[in-house]
Amino acid sequence: MALLEIKHIRKEFVSGTRTVQALKDITLTIEKGEMVAITGPSGAGKSTLLQICAGLMRPTKGNICLDGKDLYALNDDKLAEFRRNHISYILQHFNLLPMLTAHENIAIPSLLNDVKPDETVLREITDTLGITERLEHFPAELSGGEQQRVGIARSLINNPACIFADEPTGNLDGGTTKDVMDLFCRLNEAGKTIVIVTHDPEVARYCHREITIVDGMIR
């Protein structure tokens, strides 16, 4: 069953008089439970595609259905809510809120729903990620790998159907990269659909399918 249907997506950036065609007519389906890598040269439009899929950026043309729901037919607030509860998006630069502790960072998506996070679920997630000891630390006191894992933990707390990650291992060394990828594999086995943008062939090898984008088109 298709979880994510991408139909004729185009994206243009207009800056001043110049227009950049970042994505030119992309059509793509991703099945439930798949683990997909998106690769391609720099500037090909990978990040743009991922952000559009994750509901962060409206496409110029085309539509996206996630779990049968047309994302960009929703208004901004509804879209944000949908994103919070069904999609998670992990960035290369971890993007934790520096003023909150790791624990608080992980709790935010639940808090935004106005519920306290389920501590047993949270513990389970952090145990799997091996950051339970680090929960009371602030991001500045954590290493890059630990920060990335906190970011992943945060993206799992609301039990999303689909995880999008933009170069999640871009700032990590080989060993940590392997840990993070193993984790993604485990999550995938547990039923999550995962889409990873990467430059790293090693990372792509963990995935079931590799989609290559060149110059805004699927090759």
Partner: protein, 494 residues
């Protein structure tokens, strides 16, 4: 839960920004409360003497107003005068000129024993005297009162406008610091409603704090002003006399006007907040020049380098021109307020040589609105100069950091900045004062007023410009050190 957590943690991380915002809010509220209290507390006795009560045979008419009937009985001991008591007023009629001084003295004695603050009112016609008894405030002339109210409202409007501008500036500075937070939160899925609530709550708390601190502060300043004047015996002048007075309604109005300014500020800021979206585009990391291409220039302070760097600085025209307009506008407003002040405070009262303390006190009380307005306008515009400088330095930080990392000499980078900023500073001060004065001259000549310009006027301006320059220099040094040196590596870390 979410909001509580964010506020609690934000208190630590952004305390400095909160304090800055609070300072500007307090400045605005204290300004509004000072001007409102000023407006409530001034009474002009001049109008009160225009009572057409002089008798046909040039004998004198004295009257004591606002006294009770029991008090009136005390005056019946005064020999040789006929008295008429009518609803709070006591008229002494048909008085002979030779009896006048004695009777006057007796009335004064009785009146002083009954009331603490008795102020004598005289007009150019020395034969008409009116004494006020119990409550002066019952009998304010509407015409004068409206004049003060309108004048105060005009000043309040000008100052609130500058205040709102500096509030917007200082607030957007804070929002710029929080851009990353907002981005992250919206990637996680915060809705616009929640963002609105998060920042609106914060804004309201800041506003409440500034009401609690600012209104008493403004009131305190007004109180000191008026009390100082009240100590001085001003009975030989016919000027406006201050009577400190608090009206709860006008304090409420103050809070309301302050809130309106804060609310409008917040709406402008909210637009900025909502414009920040979660998507990471490369637009913001685009650097406007290619470091490799110009590598040759950096090492030495060649004219090429200066020209090149000046070009980079000039390129950032969008933020520059906007903030320049703000700076110029604030100086225009300041200069209008100042020229008016000089005319009312310094020009008129000091233009005729020797000054008696009572005249000085009268001048101060009559012009305290102008003086304080000028002080507030100066504080606002100093804040604007500081924020302006900070913003310029920050928007150029990336380019400078790269140049620095490539080996450009720090002194040369700084001197380039210095020159660039100095040019903007000079042009904005000149054009601001120029336009402001031109406007004032036009207004004055259209209502046939003379403009006084004297030594004080020039001294005040020189001091002000030097003050500006120091603030600008200080903030430039500070923000250059904070932003424009080799902080690239730190930034990459997080």
């Amino acid at each position: 839960m979410f909001y509580k957590l964010m506020y609690k943690r934000g208190m630590h991380k952004y305390r400095k920004s909160y304090i800055n915002i609070l300072c500007v809010f307090i400045l605005t509220l204290s300004m509004l409360s000072f001007t409102s209290i000023y407006c409530d507390s001034h009474y002009n006795y001049n109008d009160a003497v225009l009572i057409p009560a002089m008798t046909a045979d040039w004998t004198c008419d004295i009257r004591v107003k606002n006294i009770t009937e029991e008090e009136a009985i005390l005056y019946s001991r005064i020999p040789n005068v006929d008295m008429v008591y009518a609803a709070g007023n006591l008229d002494f009629v048909l008085l002979d000129t030779n009896e006048f001084e004695t009777v006057l003295e007796q009335i004064r004695t009785i009146l002083n024993s009954q009331h603490e603050h008795i102020h004598e009112i005289t007009d150019t016609t020395p034969t008409i005297y009116v004494y006020y008894g119990r409550d002066v405030r019952n009998n304010i002339d509407d015409y004068y009162d409206n004049g003060v109210r309108i004048g105060t409202a005009v000043f309040q409007a000008i100052l609130t406008a500058i205040g709102a501008v500096s509030m917007v500036l200082i607030y957007s500075d804070y929002i710029r610091q929080r851009t990353e937070d907002i981005r992250t939160l919206s990637a996680i899925g915060i809705t616009e409603r929640q963002l609105h609530r998060l920042f609106f709550g914060e804004c309201n708390v800041l506003y409440l704090l500034s009401v609690v601190i600012g209104i008493p502060l403004g009131g305190g300043i007004a109180y000191v002003f008026f009390k100082v004047c009240e100590w001085v015996d001003m009975s030989d002048t016919n000027s406006v006399y201050p009577v400190f007075d608090l009206h709860i309604t006008s304090l409420l109005t103050t809070a309301l006007i302050g809130y309106m300014a804060v609310y409008i500020t917040f709406q402008i800021i909210l637009k900025k907040i909502l414009r920040i979206d979660a998507s990471y585009t490369c637009a913001e990391s685009v650097i406007e020049f290619d470091p490799d291409k110009f590598r040759g220039f950096y090492y030495k302070a060649t004219p090429h380098f200066r020209a090149f760097f000046a070009r980079i600085l000039r390129k950032r025209s969008s933020t520059k021109s906007k903030s320049l307009v703000v700076l110029i506008a604030s100086i225009i407003a300041l200069s209008i307020v100042m020229l008016n002040t000089v005319n009312y405070a310094i020009g008129r009262e000091y233009s005729h040589g020797e000054i008696k303390p009572s005249e000085l006190a009268a001048a101060i009380s009559a012009t305290s609105l102008f003086i304080m307005s000028t002080i507030y306008a100066i504080l606002y515009s100093l804040a604007i100069v500081a924020i302006f400088t900070k913003r310029q330095m920050e928007s150029n930080a990336k380019s400078t950091q790269i140049l620095y990392a490539l080996g450009a000499d720090e002194h040369i980078l700084y001197s380039c900045f210095h020159r660039y900023m100095l040019r903007q500073f000079t042009s904005s001060v000149l054009s601001g004062f120029g336009v402001g004065y031109a406007a004032t001259v036009l207004i004055f000549s259209s209502v046939n007023h003379t403009i006084y310009i004297n030594l004080w006027f020039i001294i005040v301006h020189l001091v002000l410009i030097v003050l500006y320059y120091f603030v600008y220099l200080f903030s430039m040094k500070k923000y250059f050190n904070e932003n424009c040196r080799s902080t690239i590596s730190e930034e990459a870390g997080g």
